[in-house]
Symmetry: C2
Subunit: 277 residues, 2 copies
């Protein structure tokens, strides 16, 4: 693991690190915020998965998360959204390929050799982080924005023993029924829609739900509401009687100004669960 | 005035606006955050001046300021750091010309026709803002980072009736004695160092000080300490017996991670004074 940068931040440390990833068969970069408590003890960790076009950097600089993580004594991980580099397949559109990994293991060409973000994030990177940083393995939560909200919800519902808390900001909530999803799931996983099911949080909510309370915030003036389809997830939550708080926030759009506005609530929500373990 | 963008943010509004500036003889862009209180009443306003290479956007997205401004009920203005555009003079170096106006009125060629940032920020833009937004003209504070900290301190000490509170993050504290300053003041104002005096906060502090308590934060691990010269300002403050809090913050560098870490303190500091008027 190589140190790209380290900056003092809210009496803790905001680092950026890179490492050779086996899953993605390329170098990967991630951000890691350690709160002041981590100087002397192990701390819970919250994964933050980012949206289309983002790198590890966007949320790290724009989400206003570190102050609340410092206050609550939890670490934050900001992974990249896809494999990257010259040897890695890409597409001319912003919503496929590099910057748009959709948090799946690709089975189709030309994506399969590198686009293994599911394995990378649920297995390889956690193992590395637990080795390199003072984190409590049993106290992991996960959240994310847009495509990252999709990643957070699908990972938490598929691996509830690993992720003890989950929340999302404006998630792509029903990708198998949306232009933000159908094209990508077909490209990465193939045309058999049965293979998409484990990567659609509304379908997972219908089928299995989640072990704990779920928090979702969605801007009511989000310019991408027709692609995000919050109503499908909201319906599934209510139908299942899933313990959850689903908030449509008046006036908010899809930007990081929205994410930052509710970050305090989300980090507090995760801290309550993760410190209760 | 044209609306470039408006986003809901912490129950207030983060806007970006552009307008034709008379002072700078070009179009200028600025960010303006209005807290929730501004929906029903006039509010105090805090000017945030940015550093070298920045536009109106950097602090607006990375300083984590809006949440605290919302909590305290004060507006924030994020101006650009220089005139810009095809007809505007520029330099190949990052520290002169566009993105590096140094908050002065240039008297020298080729800068004079457009580089009138002092007049723009202390006169033209305030007049526009008071007309267009619900701001209390008598309750203006000013802060900034690096070159912007220089701008904030020099404007406040020269115009104490206009700026009722002042603070700075890692200001260029003694430009007339630094490579961050001598080159620029000579280029914009000419070789007569007497003309630079009104634009050096350490010299102003020695000569006249400020009407109120001054807050300065400086990272002790700042990579630019030799250019910023905090010791000259600190010495002048102590020698003058100027009411002030000057904090050397262990471990912090020059980045926005430093600025964000202490933004709560600065906005609280300004709010206390501005709401006391």
């Amino acid at each position: 693991m190589k140190i790209v940068s380290e900056n003092a931040c809210f009496d803790g440390l905001q680092g950026v690190y890179s490492h050779a990833s086996n899953s993605c068969a390329c170098d990967m970069t991630f951000g890691m915020y350690l709160p002041p408590e981590a100087k002397t003890q192990k701390v819970p960790v919250l994964w933050y998965l980012s949206g289309l076009t983002c790198t590890h950097e966007n949320a790290m600089t724009k989400a206003g998360a570190q102050g609340w993580a410092a206050e609550h004594g939890i670490a934050l991980v900001f992974p990249d959204t896809s494999p990257r580099g010259q040897g890695v397949a890409d597409d001319d559109e912003y919503d496929l390929g590099q910057g748009a990994g959709f948090y799946v293991n690709a089975t189709q060409q030309p994506w399969a050799p590198h686009f293994q973000m599911w394995d990378y994030l649920t297995s390889e990177l956690p193992a590395l982080l637990m080795k390199e940083f003072p984190l409590i393995e049993e106290a992991q939560g996960i959240t994310g924005h847009s495509m990252g909200g999709h990643g957070a919800l699908t990972m938490a519902m598929n691996l509830p023993e690993q992720y003890k808390s989950v929340s999302a900001f404006a998630p792509i909530a029903n990708p198998s029924g949306s232009d933000w999803g159908r094209k990508q799931l077909a490209a990465y996983l193939g045309d058999n829609e049965g293979d998409w099911q484990a990567h659609d949080s509304s379908l997972l909510m219908r089928e299995k739900g989640y072990r704990g309370h779920v928090l979702v915030d969605q801007g009511a003036s989000d310019q991408f509401l027709k692609l995000l389809k919050p109503e499908v997830l909201s319906h599934a939550i209510a139908e299942r009687r899933q313990p959850a708080t689903f908030r449509m926030q008046a006036g908010y759009d899809h930007s990081y100004f929205f994410v930052a506005s509710f970050m305090e609530d989300h980090i507090g929500f995760h801290a309550e669960t993760l410190y209760g373990i």
